[in-house]
Symmetry: C2
Subunit: 335 residues, 2 copies
């Protein structure tokens, strides 16, 4: 590997050509003779020449960079999504710039602006739990800027979206629990700004109905801090006690592990013999105690699909007419 950086000019000088000829030869232009192309290519190879992407970006007005906003990188689910994004981007020669909103609406807005000004060619984002004010995103979409939402998506306006079938997740969770003999099913959910939690609650209701169970408000506990707040979760667990449930469906990754942590801390694991079904993308849910049935989102695939959809937009000659929503199936797994 050589660390010397060469320019077109260097090659031009060495071969007694003009920079434009070199440029064209390297881009395999039809205007250049085979002979010259060969000469240029082989010399370029020899010195391990690489075009300066910054100069090219300035000229072409595109950076080959896509921005990503997630709430937290070190979250099972999001890190897997990022893994998917990165792999597609790498193959298509895009750089990926990752940022974190920390569930904060203000910061999210700053990030969008920051990334936008940083000349990203497109943006991949999931909404923060606090995102109530999303007008600026609607404007951004309407302006034609390539943007794909994944997982937590806006519902007040049209846009490209990649999501999991959250509602079905709720339905299947209930069905599974009923099949296993549960008769009183509780639900723990997170912040209802998020499309995901609302959809999963919908699924929960639908599942109950389909199985002839009434929906009872006392069966549901809300943890707006999404499991990050231990006290909140412990309270939820204790409040739910009186409901006497024999099965529970939990709406999110941190909520699920938070619930298990709370059970462990409150320390009556033996008495609790209820079944637990929860959304989680943990790769090691089989070693959790108490055991759970996991609902997984195809995170890597979601990242891949979102990245592909975004790159398609970026590289489209004309803005894409129709907004597309890709819905991915969820997957249930028991130990």
């Amino acid at each position: 590997m050589s660390f010397q950086k060469y320019t077109l000019k260097d090659i031009a000088k060495a071969l007694n050509l003009s920079t434009s000829t070199v440029s064209r030869a390297l881009r395999d232009s039809y205007e250049i003779s085979e002979e010259t192309k060969k000469k240029v290519l082989s010399y370029a190879q020899k010195i391990n020449f690489q075009v300066n992407p910054i100069a090219r970006s300035l000229k072409e007005r595109r950076s080959n960079t896509i921005g990503v906003i997630v709430s937290e990188i070190s979250n099972n689910f999001f890190s897997q999504v990022i893994e998917g994004i990165e792999s597609v981007a790498y193959d298509r020669n895009y750089q990926v710039v990752i940022t974190q909103s920390h569930e904060n609406n203000k910061r999210e807005k700053l990030l969008v602006e920051h990334l936008f000004k940083r000349s990203i060619d497109g943006l991949l984002m999931t909404l923060s739990a606090e995102s109530n004010e999303t007008e600026y995103l609607e404007d951004l979409v309407k302006s034609g800027f390539p943007l794909v939402f994944f997982d937590r998506v806006p519902e007040t306006f049209d846009a490209h979206k990649v999501i999991a079938d959250n509602k079905k997740g709720g339905v299947e969770a209930v069905e599974y629990l009923v099949r296993k003999g549960c008769r009183r099913i509780a639900h723990i959910t997170g912040n209802h700004n998020l499309s995901t939690n609302r959809e999963r609650l919908d699924g929960f209701k639908k599942g109950l109905k389909a199985n002839g169970f009434p929906f009872e408000e006392e069966a549901v506990r809300y943890c707006p801090h999404g499991g990050a707040d231990a006290g909140e979760m412990e309270r939820a667990v204790q409040e739910l006690e009186s409901y006497g449930y024999d099965g529970i469906f939990i709406s999110g990754d941190r909520l699920t592990t938070g619930y298990l942590q709370a059970l462990n801390r409150l320390g009556d694991l033996e008495n609790k013999t209820h079944r637990i079904v929860g959304f989680t993308n943990s790769k090691v849910f089989e070693i959790f105690n108490p055991p759970i049935t996991a609902i997984k989102q195809p995170a890597i695939e979601m990242g891949e699909k979102a990245a592909k959809l975004l790159i398609a937009q970026i590289e489209a000659k004309y803005p894409m007419e129709e907004y597309e929503t890709i819905m991915l199936p969820i997957e249930m797994a028991s130990k």
Copy 2:
């Protein structure tokens, strides 16, 4: 938020100034009168002007971008490191470009080259398990290019490094187990290309010695695939059976969870009452079954420290004279 992009020229035209004056005013140059500065600044604010980072990069020959290479983004530990890196970089106005080596030496080399050519200002990397050939990295370091290794670092040459106190982790693991009454302590380790695994094994040996126990080769099982290969781990567990251990120390994140998975699969959790101490950065190790004592690396801090060290190098007027190795303490935690 406005999506219109303005240039210096736009401002210059609007205010009847030259672009150079505007440029200087925006950078608060002493040559510009307060009055003009005010005029320019307020107008810039009004139209929400942002310099074009690409043009600036071309001119200044720096991209304000740092590259990161990890083996896998969706790994507890690495995603936490990235979280730390991102936060520091964001504050100091650097972009972070993340890539994954997938433990593959060839790909790692390609990435280094790729990032380098992409005009990153500096590189943060952890070695892949396959990294045996690291000469090119030595050359890169010697060339003066800003580069900081973290976690898995090269040992055949000097460089800036940020690591955890792995050896101490091994020592403390043994000490903990002995204190809890263990008399026969086993060890599972990963690929010995990696500094981390070698150091932890060293610590293991040292800990045994300090407590008057002999080191026995049969006590150690090697899992070069680092827990990613389930069969490998199951074999290790079964082979270890005959050693009759009452305590075990496990050398890595995936190895630790892999060990627990293997125990669960092999299914005699009740008979196994040995104590387990393992490196893991899982945020939810308290809900693991069987219970373990976790050795955590300060991952976020490691990312922060590495990023700061890197940025210091990038922004240093003269190349830093001395290579610095920052060693961070590990932390033990039980349920």
